[in-house]
Symmetry: C3
Subunit: 363 residues, 3 copies
């Protein structure tokens, strides 16, 4: 027998965010930009998907999962892509073989220890600190082949992923030279964990090839490492996670002035407390950039606190409210959303504050 399921999440909220820049000029004071949106995905990512499974006999099964992001506030994004997940699997006693587009193992390890699941005002700095830079967190990989351990290993779980770069190889150097970027797009990663009783601890590593130039003999990469754990003591569940991302460049021959590595270290601690049909969520997260420059400039960094309450109207529908405040130091310019900081020679990003008040419905 076989199944076909249509599933989804729609999440809508009133979201208001104010991003303040301090004025270092003699005028003093600060300038704030703020925006109030009817937003989507601030508690769980809005999506629509199709999944199915077919029993092949002998403990084997084939399964697929196609999941599209949806922007339900404006209807602009329908099922144009299955960019959230697009996989085909073969399952058996050996575990699961899964091919297509899917989350990278490090992302899975990181997101599971954020009580706000990297969504909305509450999203931990682990996630939001490294977008838009050399360290840009890429959550998913295309053209990947992944293996998942079977579920019955006494609490141990694990997964490994290899994503093909799909670059062109050439047997001889010619004029014109071969196309560049032959290794760009490759990802290799793995995650291993142990979940038993109240404890769930996981560790993951990954390496993405983000650029390369055959003629220059360079390869750009981002290396990721993550440790996360949760501990559940009935009246509360505790969360902790650390992530280290390093962007670097490998050279075929030693360069005179190499591009320096850039590192981002982030950590979060969180707690969720069930209260009747609801749950209180709180997190504190930090992120520190290190450009490894040989000067004595202090490292850009940010810290964030988030507090929220989610009220379940049913198993599938909930109301939620989240407030958060993020503080930048030493030149960091991270926001919790909304308009980018107003920046100039004398305007320096400081705090980003905001709230989400919304409803989410799963089907």
């Amino acid at each position: 027998q076989s199944t076909l399921t249509i599933f989804g999440v729609l999440d809508a909220s009133i979201t208001s965010i104010t991003n303040r820049a301090q004025n270092l000029s003699p005028l003093g004071g600060s300038v704030s930009l703020s925006r109030t949106d009817l937003a989507n995905s601030r508690s769980a990512s809005s999506r629509l998907g199709f999944m199915g499974q077919e029993d092949l006999g002998g403990g084997m099964a084939a399964a697929f999962w196609l999941e599209a992001p949806v922007t339900n506030d404006d209807g602009a994004t329908g099922i144009a892509t299955f960019s959230r997940r697009s996989t085909l699997s073969l399952l058996g006693t050996f575990g699961e073989l899964r091919v297509g587009r899917d989350y990278m193992p490090v992302f899975v390890n990181d997101v599971l220890v954020d009580p706000f699941s990297f969504n909305g005002a509450g999203a931990a700095l682990t996630f939001i600190a490294n977008t838009g830079s050399r360290l840009d967190r890429v959550s998913r990989a295309n053209n990947s082949i992944a293996y998942f351990l079977p579920p019955n290993l006494g609490g141990f779980y694990g997964q490994a992923m290899y994503a093909l770069h799909e670059g062109t190889k050439q047997t001889l150097w010619t004029t014109p030279p071969p196309p560049n970027s032959t290794r760009t797009g490759r990802h290799i990663g793995a995650r291993l964990g142990y979940a038993k009783g109240p404890l769930d601890i996981g560790v993951a590593v990954g390496r993405s090839t983000t650029g390369d130039d055959y003629s220059a003999g360079t390869t750009d990469k981002v290396q990721l490492a993550s440790l996360g754990l949760t501990y559940d003591v009935n009246f509360a569940k505790f969360y902790a996670g650390v992530n280290r991302s390093k962007a670097g460049r490998d050279y075929a021959r030693p360069p005179v002035s190499p591009l320096l590595d850039a590192t981002l270290n982030s950590a979060l601690i969180g707690v969720t407390v069930p209260v009747g049909v609801g749950v209180i969520r709180a997190t504190y997260s930090r992120a520190v950039y290190d450009e490894h420059l040989n000067d004595n400039r202090p490292d850009p960094q940010a810290s964030k606190i988030a507090l929220g309450y989610l009220h379940n109207l049913s198993k599938r529908t909930a109301l939620y409210a989240t407030v958060a405040r993020l503080r930048n130091k030493n030149g960091a310019a991270i926001t919790i959303g909304g308009p980018a900081y107003l920046r100039s020679a004398s305007l320096v990003p400081t705090t980003s504050t905001g709230y989400d008040f919304g409803i989410r419905h799963a089907f």
Copy 2:
């Protein structure tokens, strides 16, 4: 319990339209452009959607509606967007709270009194006269929050909508100046009606902010007002509607030469007569533009007659045929579809005539 429904409409027709321009030059005569298409949506808009509802207990429910436009004649538009409707609702004895992208109240009031539901050759001038101008009818609003009265109010019904502009606010004037268009996209509207026995009468108003410039101190808006009614006397149902749309500009300080208002007044009368398993539909509609120019130029205007027959093969499948003729005066250039009029110094748009012959199927 909860439901998930996939629904849709596919409508295909042979549609042929001829648009004639009169030749004012000494040559005389006229030049016609005509086109015959395999068209879609000429009787009902082709679409594919997903909707669902979950009972939350206590008379409450959560519901969603995601509806995509589909071009079934060429397959070019799949479910890329949910631009027809994309909403999440909370329902109760208090009525319905609905957020996302949806029809504006004025549009709902207008479309319900057109026997051709603004589709195809029969679509009333109320709809087709104000596309492509400052008065451009926008049928739907993004980022909206709407409230609907509950259904059990002795025949009264009503709805109100507020759509967020999602513009950025700034606390202080700075150089560079703040982004413009901070209020553009806002819509506020409402509809109130009464339906009892043979009568259904509704009135609606709306105001859209279509542009603004903070530095210049101007705000562009379109104001809409609509009155519609239907009266059902078994052997026939009568329809009547009027709409007034006004595009204007507000100024922070009185300007020397302000932009003049532009107004579009439109009206329609119609009738449907059931004949066996089919229904005959006929409408007459008029539209008059007023640019409020201080000259004595006559107002551009158009009138249109449409006649059609829809033959139900089942509750969900029907064949239909519609013929229509539209006449422009004083420089109006409205068509019922097809190629735009050939225009030049001596070529003046006059009539647009055409027919649809098609099939529609709902699922």
Copy 3:
């Protein structure tokens, strides 16, 4: 009663292709470009669709079919279009009337005699030889009206299609002149066949208007003719097909130096042999271009052999492996996929070799 079905195919494979160009310079040797992908659609085209049928009584039915291509390896293509098929049908004892976007009759006749169904490494030269040229095979037509014979004609089957060009017609010549391309997009085609016992034989013709210029008095067209047959003798099934495509230009008045016709003749023979739950597939195909130039240059041509095995894990899930080798002569540059040949004055495309190893799952 009526039905609504969601259906699809997901096909993923490791696909590796090497395209070799011979070096005619004194250096000799060759240069190969190769690429290994996680590919999709190499055994059956990945897709997701919605179809339904409604019984109208009296032997009549209404039916629809909306089918989207899906790229499951990267999730980049969701249900953005229904470009694989988008049709609405009326069925009865008279046969089927079908309107929208669908396969052209010649394509249907060709694809049914390729054991690899024009997918992946095994796709016959009939399909891959005429992409990217004046002879470009267009598989489907928009805005088409098709008629299919009913199924109970003693083995005879047939279909005819007319696709509207949807160009604009003008009653008088004017300045500026009327838009060109008024007939471009038109297609007319038909297929007739006979299937009884082990034999299935079909013939099809088609004519596509691919361009036209009213001012110059020219019309470009591609004329297609196809003959295909299969013969099933239990232990094996044999396949054979020939296709002739001719691109030409019609002139309103005889030109001094007309554009010469270009012709592509292709043929394939194939066999499938059931082996337990699997099936062995093998084909040999050839394609010869004739530019009808009045010189004595030999015609560019290519030949291809493909061998594969498909192992059914269930009715809906299969593993497959295919290897293929394609050889170009006299300047042809066809590949079985992968990177384009490296070409220069001295580099001449020769062979394209590759394999698919994958899984396909239908739902």
